[in-house]
Symmetry: C2
Subunit: 307 residues, 2 copies
């Protein structure tokens, strides 16, 4: 297939950027040279050692020079400052995109720094694992997952190229506006993460149940929460600080429902509980039918939870 | 190895009972004849068709006749009535155990019906999947998982036999008192399940985000919740109705913590969030080191979430 971008720059070299690089290599001709930049020297050294990026640069300016596509893969809170720093070095006509989990705030912080003739098309691949860092990436991360792009006022052709790029990385692509994105993600990702972090924190805090008990007896449900609650703390801090409104709205709905169920438990209303628990099974079936999860018991974990 | 029980009766033929049967068969000589009973004719027919149990009986009385070990594998709320029904048919000196997720309530409802000379040793295998029914069982379910036994006043020898039985089914065994069990499980299982059910219910309810969006974009965290929230509704209704106090206590702690994090989001206290999210990573490491989960990203799900 045809090459889409002659030069691609990855700013930030964590799980998403490294997976994008390996997926570009898997395609073979999706991009010409791929440059990369990471803030710490340690990460740049790791990247050089494992062959992550065709060329690892010691400055953002060098990395984005002559790039046709610049991908911001830094925590949401760092997007504005990074854009400010690279702006003078961007090639006219280039496309800038990002992979942040929040879109409204990123647009508000990036757009003021955007030079004339450079297009910003925010994006968000809905894929990840609980691991982070340059060595955590793999080419298949985006396969059959969804990437959301926010077209804004960018020309159709610019959006179309980025869409094709993501499709060749393995993803399905949908277009969405920023506010709706932030609400959808508050439901499917941000609030579940906050809740999982909270539950794991509660277990850790409780003096009457030891950590060792929590760890040994985690197979009964809790361990799924701990996987989510092992995600990158910087990334998630920024998500909650920047998608404040939608997260607080969904949290409000969540506590309202939780209190209703709590009341049903207190009053012994078994029918309310049974009906609620029956309804939620249907959503699970939908996810499996849509190919977004495995139907194998326990996510297909080996019998002992180890593979 | 030596046979422990000449005759074992399984009352209720769902995920746990069927897994126990296959694990007994895997051992080869753990039990002599295994009888089984299920409330509905449909389940009994399925059991006969797939060879689940050496003999499927049409009445509980027939199933428990001459049994040395009777295992109650019915929802927690049904334990008392079942015990009442089988009591006159139990062999003197036999052991009765159960696999319910709540222990205090089961003990309170079962003990009054216990005939003289029959020992009740409640148990709880901390293992399961989101699937239920007679066809969902598999021999490896208990391997390297923990089973908790409540010795109460039963003779050491009776408890020791049951312990050996569970160890040969693949499990590690710990002894615990009923109140502590119910608190530990409220933390590691009951509250996480309630929270997962709630979150999935909220997503399903929200008119501004469609179910189809929730399903498509679930990979970002939400799908792990849907697995938990796909568990058997009857079983979970009974768990919450019978482990009311401990669940409400842990829920209280949970909402307290959640409100603190919610406040940190509202006030923009990034340090509080970062510190909280860093702390919870340690618990995950402990679970992996203890062999209770896989370190593979996303539980080792295939790249596309399908295996």
């Amino acid at each position: 297939m045809e090459r889409i971008y002659d030069r691609v720059a990855l700013i930030g070299l964590g799980l998403i950027a490294s997976s994008m690089f390996w997926a570009m290599k898997r395609d073979g001709n999706l991009a010409g040279e791929v440059t990369g930049y990471a803030r710490t020297e340690a990460t740049r050294e790791t990247a050089r050692r494992i062959g992550l990026c065709d060329r690892v640069c010691d400055s953002m300016a060098e990395a984005v020079k002559d790039a046709d596509l610049v991908i911001l893969c830094v925590p949401v809170g760092a997007m504005g400052p990074v854009m400010e720093e690279i702006a003078p070095h961007l090639k006219p006509g280039c496309t800038v995109t990002d992979v942040g989990s929040v879109k409204g705030d990123v647009i508000r912080s990036v757009t003021p720094h955007l030079p004339e003739g450079v297009f910003f098309v925010p994006g968000h691949p809905l894929a990840g694992t609980e691991h982070s860092g340059p060595e955590s990436g793999f080419a298949e991360l985006f396969d059959n997952r969804w990437t959301l792009l926010i077209p804004g006022s960018a020309p159709d052709e610019v959006v179309g190229d980025l869409r094709s790029f993501w499709e060749r990385l393995g993803a399905n692509v949908d277009l969405m506006d920023a506010d709706h994105h932030d609400l959808v993600l508050a439901v499917t990702s941000h609030t579940p993460h906050l809740i999982a972090y909270t539950m794991v924190g509660v277990a850790d805090d409780l003096r009457r149940v030891t950590d060792s008990e929590v760890i040994k007896y985690s197979a009964a449900g809790f361990r799924d929460f701990t996987r989510i609650a092992a995600s990158d703390p910087t990334m998630w801090r920024d998500v909650f600080l920047t998608n404040k409104e939608a997260t607080l709205e969904i949290l409000g709905r969540f506590t309202e429902e939780l209190f209703a169920l709590q009341r049903a438990i207190r009053t012994g209303d078994g029918q309310h509980l049974f009906d609620y628990f029956t309804r939620t099974r249907a959503i699970r079936r939908g996810i499996i039918q849509a190919g977004q999860d495995t139907a194998a018991p326990n996510f297909g974990r080996g019998p002992s939870g180890q593979k």
